[in-house]
């Protein structure tokens, strides 16, 4: 079904593209939001991604790879946003109290506030790979494609990002213990 839509969109069928965009926009925005931590920039990145997708769809060689291609466009758009705005993006206020699916045992490892504060303190590169892995549930091969890096590099970046998250959580925990803002 999606392949047919992609092929129609490649031929200039805007209705088909509309269906594809509607089906993808939630995941795209969620990913951009996690990476950029800024509503306005996430919105811009998704717009840029979809505008470029529409423009370049006729060049897509493998319609079956539309989703992977779209992710790559989104990561590139997020990279552009990072470069434009620098390091400080923090206007997303997230509702941790309703953080879904966090079991009591998970919460015992790090509470929800700590998770968010730790995540917010990661580098953009670390947040990107965390979002691709744990929000989009991508394989390492798909992460490598989205980041346009070799598989080994993707593996190293993911490993590093997880360790960074653990370190940030440890730092947040220490800050709380010592009564300092983390």
């Amino acid at each position: 079904m999606e392949r047919e839509l992609v092929e129609r969109a490649m031929q200039g069928d805007h209705n088909a593209f509309s269906e594809l965009a509607a089906a993808s926009i939630g995941r795209l925005y969620g990913t951009a939001g996690l990476i950029l931590r800024n509503h306005a920039e996430a919105e811009d990145a998704v717009q840029e991604c979809l505008l470029r997708a529409w423009r370049d769809l006729p060049r897509l060689r493998q319609p079956d790879r539309f989703e992977a291609w779209l992710r790559r466009l989104l990561v590139n758009a997020c990279n552009d946003a990072m470069r434009r705005s620098g390091a400080h993006r923090s206007d997303i206020e997230l509702d941790y109290a309703s953080a879904l699916g966090l079991s009591d045992s998970a919460a015992s490892v790090a509470n929800r506030d700590e998770l968010e504060r730790g995540f917010a303190r990661l580098t953009d590169a670390d947040r990107t790979v965390i979002a691709l892995r744990f929000y989009l549930d991508l394989s390492l091969a798909d992460i490598a494609q989205a980041l346009d890096v070799p598989l080994g590099t993707a593996k190293a970046r993911l490993s590093r990002a997880i360790r960074a998250m653990q370190a940030e959580l440890a730092a947040v925990g220490r800050g709380a213990t010592e009564g300092r803002p983390a």
């Binding site: 990279n79 879904l100 699916g101 998970a106 190293a156 490993s159 590093r160």
Partner: protein, 480 residues
Amino acid sequence: MTDRRTSTSTDAFESQLRSFAHATAPEPPPHLLDHVLRQTEGAPQASGWRSFSWPVVAAVITAVVLAVAVGSSGWLQVANRPMGTSPALGSSSAFASAGGSSGTSRPGSSSTPPVAVEHADWVRVGLPDPSGDVFGGTSALDVVAFDGGYVAVGAVNADCCASDDLSLDRGIVWKSADGISWELHDGIATFQHARLNQIVAFGGRLIASGTSAEPQVGQPAVSIPALWTSSDGTSWERVQGDVPAMITIGPRGLVGIVTEPSDATTDPMNWFATSSDGLLWKRDSIGWPGDVHDMAARADGIFVAVGASSEDRPDEAAIWYTSEAGGWIEHTPTDAPDAWLASVTVFDGQFFVAVDTAEPQPDGSDRGVVWATDDPTTGSWRVIANLGNVHLSGIFALRDALVAVGTDESEDLSDATAWVSTHLDQWGQVSRDKAFAGINNEVAAVIPTRHGRLLSVGWYFDRHAGHLVPVAWIERAERS
């Protein structure tokens, strides 16, 4: 032995991250889809995909050279295409943290105050890019000095992003007399379904290693290690038989590691292999499991390979050593199982490993370190440099300098970086030079030029083209 994170606790933490990501990812505002669709409706689309036709013979495309005299040094900035970031013209902004020999300190644990070191400016040079509409662009992956000039190899990443078909990739070669102006050699028949990852010069001959993925009818292409030789960098022949996946030059000839890839149930297996000419290879060891990232040889016949273990310690850091014709023995520091060992080299009689410690400090420092040892048989490695918040991907021994490369993560952006050390207690960082700016830039290899400059190749993410373009970085001034 250090405490190791069990797979159970790792799984629990990753499960927690997954729940967190899904719970906190924001929903798109209601107007966003309509806004996008209004902008795209009626907007023009690009012309369709151009099928790629292979030329019968190798086409040599000379870069369109834009030459600009820079300063009194007579250095030229050249580019075959407009670049997103101008080469740096300002003063050197080198600054450095550094390590100091620290005896038998535990790898990944030492810390040394910064030491300022001066370094020359670098210029980024565009290599001719044949990728055209290919979405993945082109990467330059290695470079070697040869016949008075330089030869670089790489690949057009046609499998990237819109296809999993590895057979779409093709290997390419660039040649340069001076490291500044580069000629593209594309369409070489034997590289049609290949990637060229590495190149060495040995015995008056160039030897390139990489992979080949012949198209398969009705099933995905399978990538296998491949080797090619050339006497001029223009005409290439593929080496037949059992060839290694990576090669280096040893004291008595070429050495390599033959790897048989894993399937779903087995670990990758490796064999030490030797060759006197690069054409005929012989396996010289029993097979051992592991994921080998790099290897290096010392004049006394000791070899070190770095990578990740498998079997009972999947993905943990591993270092192996051997003497020629001997078996490989794993002797890895046990205090850093999560480290990523990217690259190894020999400099001044010692082995050096570029390490991503995967143990970031709360302030984000001490991610990239360099380990060293003069006796890998002891398994005792010491930290000789803490390079800060950097992801190291390679380390290279040049005539008078050790160079570590990777990406600088210190300001939330992943810019290419290079650290240079002529005295092992002082390291200078050149990544603040604008020539290295840009997300997803990566330095793949570094060599010295015959004029004493450093020449490196890699890739640069052109955000306007939306894909990777091959580049070289070269120092403006000779190293003193």
